[in-house]
Assembly symmetry: C3
């Protein structure tokens, strides 16, 4: 069941190369429910990639924003009543308008209430869940990295699991992405911005596994380029925005590190 | 009716040159009701210009903050109940203490509820409305760039309309500002920060058209200087803060691009 | 009563040198209730220092976050109902789990309601209050810099008072720290980030005066290093993150400026 095959390993870098160009050409609108820590950085990463971010949470208007966007991100980083209500309305609007959406269940390992809320969201048509191993364990009752494929199959959701290497699986296919740099973990909202890029790629690419892999390859390669111009996590956080904005197909094809 | 005259074209760069020095010398307090995406960047831009920003929204204290500030910005970027209530209190305090205030009706083109709220605010003594063409159309029932002067005249409000070139008009006079760089549109909160600079200049300059023009010239020139030191939108967003902090009268007078 | 003694003057730089290494080695969790303007910058400064920040405010889960953290920061920068409620729950959890916490009473000089709230918090077991002179005067009914030692003694709280030089006192001992650079006042959230570093050091060092002094020395030295690589407040804000991440014991011991 766990087979990537040469096709996927060849296809993912090509998808990254194609989507990075298409994002710039088409400028999809991506609505983000995200925590206040991550909002500005996420918006700047989406803008660097050529997208048009929006971030309102207001119950009166979030449905309209999601309906006019091409994709939605729901990030649980600050789990307040306003965001919970906004999430419900936004997901209903995404369903009504057939917009793909991504869940980033930040810190569900730290809060049982948040984990329960996230488990409920997973049942509501999410296309991709992006998370780390502690979050997966909290979401799926102790699931390990080895269980990610079974969890994806059982839920029908693409799992994009971060770690030393990223694992992306839809339960049938799986691919490992080795791009990136440890400094990425030293910048707040880097993970949130990565999830937003997954949503952006999903706006243009219906194969959610391929869209997720493309976004993570692009972000990881941008990180590798940025680290060459950085003196620490502060300048790295800035340089990766520049690198994402300048990323091109040849760099992605040359640097993508994917394996089964 | 649409006449800038040589006076205004000569006066605007001089006002920018004078105000950029006065902001540093006098350090006006500028209270900002702005969206969480834009808060930090707006605060840093105001600090770079020599101002003292504050951003509280609490109903108990926002009136006091506005009363002790020299100008107010109301930005509708995140249109939640808390900000709506805060806006009402803040505007009443601005009226009571005779403080000028600026409206930035972000994304009114995306939300009828927000547009209706903004239209109501315009009637409450706002001095400057800063917006783009889609926002003007939503605010003024389909108004185009050509209608901006008539809208300013009808409402008694200075309109600062962004675009390939900025148009600033009070309904009688009008001026076009050609400074700036396309990268400014790739940085989140750049427009919001520009509106905050308009409020800052309005704290010191009673002629709202001149204050608006001065702020937009200063920001545009800072952007032109910054782009020379940038490798993309990430480093540009930082370099423009440096450039604004270092901006001086000779650079403004030499680089200002104003026309009728 | 006001005696630093050679011991403290020698001990503070050594504590800074030790704690900057221990933060990286042990990565304490620091929960921050802070204003939305400061959240991202504070998180990035804590990450640069090797800590793990969290920032949720949700009443359902903040108690759990604080219980699993090693220290807490309560910053009053945006004084809304949600943060007031969160502060109460968080402080109760800190008390229950014996976690040290730091208060940063931002802008209490601008709002009597905020000052009253802060005075109430000071009675609830806070270890360190970090503030400027206007804030001290508002908190302690007109107290001046000279009164800081008496205020610390009367309340049993360490006072970390910013100014041209920082004064840190527990009412018995006092130390003055001369590190830093004027550009630090031109970056929003720099003070908030400094208070977060105090909380981080307090997670590892039970002597609250030494922990506070170490954090302020480290931040000040990072600022001095950063200014050498900066072209203004924008690049300075980034360079100080890099400098903090790279800070080592020799630089701290060589550059610390402490006096009685």
């Amino acid at each position: 069941m766990h087979h990537a095959g040469g096709d996927l390993i060849g296809a993912a870098p090509k998808a990254a190369a194609r989507l990075i160009e298409e994002l710039r050409a088409r400028g999809p609108r991506v609505h983000c429910i995200t925590n206040t820590v991550a909002q500005a950085y996420t918006a700047n990463m989406l803008l660097a990639a050529g997208c048009i971010p929006s971030m309102t949470l207001s119950a009166e208007e979030i449905g309209g924003f999601v309906g006019r966007a091409e994709a939605l991100l729901v990030n649980l980083g600050t789990f307040d009543a306003e965001r919970r209500e906004a999430s419900g309305i936004a997901i209903a609007a995404a369903h009504e308008h057939k917009r793909p959406w991504v869940l980033d269940p930040v810190f569900v390992d730290r809060s049982p209430a948040r984990a329960a809320f996230a488990r409920d969201l997973v049942k509501r048509g999410v296309r991709v869940v992006r998370l780390n191993q502690a979050e997966l364990a909290a979401l799926a009752h102790g699931a390990t990295r080895e269980d990610a494929i079974a969890y994806a199959r059982a839920t029908g959701v693409v799992v994009a699991l971060s770690g030393a290497a990223d694992l992306v699986t839809d339960g049938t296919r799986a691919i490992t992405i080795g791009n990136g740099h440890p400094l990425m973990a030293r910048v707040t909202a880097m993970g949130c911005a990565g999830s937003a890029l997954v949503a952006a790629c999903l706006a243009l690419e219906p194969d959610a596994l391929l869209a997720s892999a493309a976004a993570l390859i692009a972000l990881g390669v941008a990180g590798e380029i940025a680290v060459e111009k950085s003196a620490g996590p502060g300048s790295f956080a800035i340089a990766i925005i520049d690198a994402l904005a300048a990323l091109d197909a040849p760099a992605l094809l040359a640097r993508a590190k994917v394996s089964a």
